[in-house]
Symmetry: C2
Subunit: 517 residues, 2 copies
């Protein structure tokens, strides 16, 4: 029997996992490995958890069965210092074990898990570093061959994306297709009671490798695209077992987010009440309290429900302007990510043939509206989106990614925790931080000048700003000479009476940035 604290090493040295038996870095993974019963179905028959304690802070973390009599309990310590632990189990071999470890300061690049910021509409890592979401989707990338996965990871290494939406269950042709032990040759011949640890071990390796690249793994737990296998059509008890398993197995990795369903409302075997129930199961099984959302095709889930941490939205038209984007914040009262806004690509399907400009344009409108947007692409020689970055990962073909990298730099140089919409009601199309920083985005318009009228009342500071003209497509930032010294224009606005306008190049995809000097 193996006893005590051992850190998972198989997935290589990554910031998600700390080194050392007795020392684990803050927000790393401290793993306890125990040997126990291997007969019967340990997943159903054996419960095991550990209570971790430090200075009155106590978290009870469920463990999971990893096959061959091995049980693991994974804990990501939220604070530095000495943590003690003690197990509880239905099995005498696993019960009453105890130990301790030292949680040390995080290593460079480890900023902790992403959380919602105090203002309620943005994200930051636990150490306070803003998280400026520029996501992508490769639904079944983690289920492809090792070579293909390596290619995807190599692509991501130089791509701008810091969140990856990825399915546990395959939605397109894949190599790893069996989360549950097969019972026969048919697609539907599998036993939901017999979770296959090898499948999930492989999947978590992908989570860890994303973490090493600084990419959040937005794990999609259900989807409607594989009715033949029926993984999303299990019974309630089988769903609960599955959710508890993934929560125990993956939840300690700090880059994990939970997406309960992709197009949840297209899964005909589950009702909204079922989803609500499953959120409760997941929340109870996840002491690390990772971010949770759910993605729709038509019927918006109620994002105000307390277990939803942020809105994950599919909407192709809502981010063609900042007004409808911002509205999602008004309804959700939470951060909003437009995880699906049509894809850059050449698909024969209309949802997969957006041009690159159209995709980048959506990111900018979303930004001005105080929200976040997600990318994917569907290029394929045969126009078949199932074999593309969206489905399987691999290489990027489109031209949006560099523009999104440019956008990300703009975001990173902007206010924290993020861009706020500014007086959306009044048609300004401005985002930023009032009286400090403004972005005005013109989309497909081609203005030759812009009247620099900023919202401001008598009580507000009349500041002075410098300006940049941003070509979001050609990725240039051109400073405007001099400054704009604001004075009262009318009851609602400030402007500089000596230079009330900025000349613009009359080109599409132009933005103006004003920064207080």
């Amino acid at each position: 029997m193996l006893k005590g604290a051992i850190v998972l090493g198989g997935a290589a040295a990554t910031p998600a996992l700390a080194a050392g038996r007795d020392r684990t870095e803050r927000w790393g993974v401290h793993e306890i490995v125990l040997s126990g019963p291997s007969t019967g179905n340990p997943i159903d028959d054996v419960t095991v958890s550990a209570a971790f304690e430090r200075d009155g802070n106590r978290l009870v973390v469920p463990g999971f069965y990893d096959g061959d009599g091995t049980y693991r309990i994974r804990f990501s310590p939220p604070d530095v210092g000495q943590w003690t632990w003690k197990t509880s189990s239905s099995s005498a071999a696993l019960n009453g074990r105890s130990g301790a470890f030292q949680c040390v300061a995080p290593s460079s690049g480890n900023h902790g898990p992403v959380r919602v910021t105090a203002d309620g509409y943005h994200f930051a890592y636990a150490d306070g570093t803003p998280f400026r979401q520029i996501g992508t989707t490769c639904y079944s990338w983690a289920l492809q061959s090792d070579a293909m996965c390596a290619q995807t990871l190599a692509t991501l290494r130089t791509a701008p994306f810091n969140k990856m939406r990825m399915c546990v269950f395959p939605n397109v042709p894949s190599v790893a297709t069996n989360p549950f032990v097969k019972t026969g040759p048919g697609l539907h011949d599998w036993d939901p009671k017999r979770i296959d640890p090898a499948f999930f071990r492989r999947f978590e390796d992908r989570i860890v490798r994303l973490g090493a690249l600084g990419i959040e793994a937005d794990i999609i737990l259900y989807h409607p695209y594989d009715e033949k296998r029926g993984y999303s059509d299990m019974s309630r008890a089988d769903d609960e077992r599955y959710l508890r398993y993934v929560a125990a197995r993956f939840g300690a990795f700090r880059n994990v987010w939970w997406s309960m369903g992709n197009e949840y409302d297209a899964i005909k075997t589950k009702t909204v009440a079922d989803w609500d129930h499953l959120f409760g199961v997941l929340q109870a099984a996840d002491p690390h309290d990772r971010l949770r959302s759910i993605h729709q095709i038509i019927v918006y889930y109620d994002h105000r429900k307390p277990w939803i941490t942020h809105a994950s939205v599919q909407n192709g038209s809502a981010v063609t302007d900042d007004v409808p984007a911002q509205l999602h914040r008004s309804f959700a009262l939470k951060p909003v990510i437009f995880d699906e806004v049509l894809y850059e690509g050449n698909s024969d399907k209309r949802w997969g043939r957006l041009d690159s400009q159209g995709l980048v344009d959506r990111f900018w409108h979303g930004l001005i509206g105080g929200t976040y947007v997600g990318h994917s692409e569907t290029f394929n020689p045969d126009r078949n989106a199932d074999f593309s970055w969206l489905g399987q990962g691999g290489k990027l073909v489109g031209t949006s990614a560099p523009r999104l990298a440019f956008l990300r730099k703009i975001m990173e140089a902007g206010p924290t925790p993020g861009i706020e919409p500014i007086q959306t009601w009044w048609g300004y199309h401005l985002g930023g931080k009032e009286f400090e920083y403004y972005l005005r985005y013109f989309g497909a318009d081609q203005p030759t000048e812009w009247a620099v009228n900023l919202p401001g009342r008598d009580k507000d500071p009349r500041n002075t700003y410098r300006a940049d003209i941003i070509d979001t497509w050609n990725m240039t930032v051109t400073p405007v000479e001099g400054t704009f010294r604001m004075a009262k224009r009318d009851a609602y606005e400030f402007h500089d009476p000596d230079r009330p306008t900025i000349k613009l190049p009359g080109k599409k995809w132009t933005a103006v940035r004003l920064v207080k000097v």
Copy 2:
């Protein structure tokens, strides 16, 4: 002591009230008048209600104290036939009374109360007649002098509006300002325990007179605009007494809607939990189950809460396009009324100086998005909106009303129960009923032609349509010669290959209507 069924006659012959002691028309008001204690504070000391029964249908209706020892119980019978009733009361003089009446067919023009339609996004009267909402707001019209009220009613008689938003508590200078008995000369000197029946008797006369004009009375129960008097800042017990009183007194009138608050989030003495509680109180006190909503300034109330029947929204920018308008349906999953979208007027405030075109334009965009919009105007020689149609009623000065009458006719000639948004995601800007009726609205654009590409898949009917060009401002409908015979255009669309476009006049505020032939 007066016993038995007497129908309220004071407010004149109106469709809201049926005639006759023993006969009440369906959806009219059957009123029981009883004499009881007049000492102490009958509103707090005496409870009285009646159970009305017919064919196993049983409703318990609370009564209210009307002063001078008079108690009234008002019931609006939902079905024709013989109804029996029996009172329960804490007072022996009011307890155990019983009687019966005959509910007869409704008279002409009585379509019953407005309800949400089965599809979930529109309104219809109880008899099935569609209710096409074209609302207006005169916050304190009912609290003005009788002469001024008469002028407002005369204006409404020829105006297009079928819903009036109106406050119980004054928000601008008014004649009727004391719902509660005064206890001193100061604005805040009044006793919330002593409701003044005369104030509410006068108010209900206005409700009834609106009903006679076929106008729904959207009664605003609280608002933040009179902190000096503080009617919206009462204690919970006082709020409960007030709500129970208005529910018992007004709830039987079939044209009553409840708007719990105007700019509820600007009332600093109440939390969302308070509002939720008050909805519960109102719902329990209103066996007639009238429509319920609440109107915000900034923070959207959660329209999915079960006691909300429809979303009442203030938003100046959401109805400048059908996309954001439609989104409100996606979030609320209920009918949406944009009750405040800026006002036509000449106010010195930016919320009250929209031009008439801008207001009419919002109604059209809202319509295409499957929602409804509300009007008001703020014209005043001194640009003071407090003395205008919005505040006090009177005469209309603006030029939007005839255009809204025209719009209402277009709506009434359209599909039932209302206009549905059509594939909003894909930029069609079409509303209607697929494969039967389409409206395309162009707003401030000035197109000279429109490519008639309608969404349609292989399985869908390729119908033939006639077309009209609608000038929404000049109120003309110009038929287009011939018909459009749809054929497959591509995987997603139909068109007529022989005439793929319609020539348009290149003018603002143009719409095209297609009707299946």
